[in-house]
Symmetry: C2
Subunit: 276 residues, 2 copies
């Protein structure tokens, strides 16, 4: 039996950066299994000592060094963690010195500048974008479409809602969406109410197999979920994308993150307010 | 005038990890200004060469080396970027060797293991959680509350909706929310329909000043937004949290990420499905 190697993500704040860093790196080791623990908000020496005890305990229980991904900024808490019985991979240690040298400036060692709400305007924009997206999900209303940064269109269950929410949450983008239903396909043209917003439209498509699978989980054995119907709806939607020159992408093998970033770049959306 | 130092985030995939890494590090240099560009999906040598030309152009335009945060995995594309005229901070170069040595395994150099949909079950759980959260936002319905992993309660505009969406999107947690309104305060007890779910409840509170500010942006000069009303609602909500022993936190100075992570850990929510 493979031992599950213990992994600790240690952070002054949320631990999101440490987790992402660790996940990206560890995904490269497919022969290993990991038991991951996040220790967020380690912002005092006292908490760092408690974290260290937990890490050392994992070491003595297993006899194998835990991996420790640390994004601690405060030198005092960092020193405590660096002294643990683990392989400590320290983000700041690795990168901050070359940056200090290059920028000719000492780093400030101030906490809470990332994932905080230090920039209130940008933060409020994100919250406003989330509300906008919730109010303009699934064609609830097309009022205020002129305020949208982007409007995603596509057949039901092609990935519009999660993508809109991700764009709003992470980038403060006002993302609306409008479902293309069989009614919209009758004359093969873009629905009239979307026509004034043509430049903001971005299409989501999907393979018939994948759509059939997704819809079947929701409404098994329905006409709505049938492979034939999925195939027909997708064909008609893509035909509109082509005839109206609306850019689109196939979401079948893409995550919400990948779809969002692809659209962000393809549509040259202004990333004024990335998640702080 | 300070020169805005050019910063490039270069990635095989979405660039999310590189951006987070860079943002965390650069937030430590408050004397500097940055002009940030993300170059995602750099997955061929050809694309790497084009990226390199852009980086080198920025260098010759400004006469100052751009900062390049790279999470490229493929050695061929990495080599192209490493040779650019920038200070290249390479995530893999820095961390992968110590990990290979510690784990006794070579890294696989396979792309798309992070932020992809390689784990379909976990991915579907995230999408299901988002749908659950949308269907149980703002007390729309309390049906299926027994399926919720957590139910956030608090006065209007205390941060429930963005927090629920973040928990669902990033962690696949079925997060419902229920607004405490003046009607709920009449007898000072937990609303009846929440009583069966007491163990799943987590309270969000906020300072009167902050709530007044947020509500005033939405409905200026209303009774709803008045400082007196905000103060009274919050006092009654907190009184319920105390008398019913419901854990709660003050969201006033916290970002959605910070609120979410705090709840995740405080409520010992099972992170079965972190964002892949």
């Amino acid at each position: 039996m493979t031992i599950k190697r213990n992994v600790f993500y240690v952070s002054d704040r949320t631990g999101i950066t440490a987790e992402l860093l660790g996940r990206t790196l560890l995904s490269q080791f497919q022969g290993a299994a990991f038991n991951k623990t996040t220790l967020p908000f380690i912002d005092t020496v006292e908490k760092a000592r408690t974290a260290c005890i937990e890490i050392n305990q994992a070491f003595s229980d297993q006899g194998v060094r835990p991996l420790v991904f640390s994004t601690l900024i405060n030198p005092n808490t960092r020193n405590v963690i660096t002294a643990c019985n683990g392989l400590v991979l320290d983000l700041f240690e690795m990168f901050i010195r070359p940056l200090e040298k290059e920028l000719g400036e000492e780093s400030s060692h101030v906490l809470g500048l990332s994932h905080g709400i230090s920039d209130h305007d940008a933060y409020n924009d994100r919250i406003d974008a989330i509300n906008f997206t919730l109010n303009h999900d699934d064609g609830i209303t097309t009022a205020n479409f002129e305020l949208a940064d982007i409007i995603l269109i596509g057949v039901s269950r092609s990935g519009k809602t999660p993508t809109c929410l991700y764009l709003a949450m992470q980038y403060g983008i006002r993302a609306a969406n409008y479902p293309l239903t069989p009614d919209d396909f009758s004359d093969g043209h873009l629905p009239k109410l979307l026509q004034p917003f043509r430049k903001k439209l971005y299409g989501l498509s999907i393979t018939p197999d994948r759509l059939h699978k997704i819809r079947s989980e929701r409404k098994p054995d329905s006409q709505y979920a049938s492979l034939d119907n999925c195939r027909a709806e997708i064909r008609k939607a893509e035909s509109i994308f082509h005839s109206e020159a609306i850019p689109y992408l196939d979401t079948s093998t893409k995550s919400v993150e990948e779809i969002s970033i692809t659209i962000l770049h393809a549509a040259h959306l202004h990333q004024a307010h990335p998640a702080s």
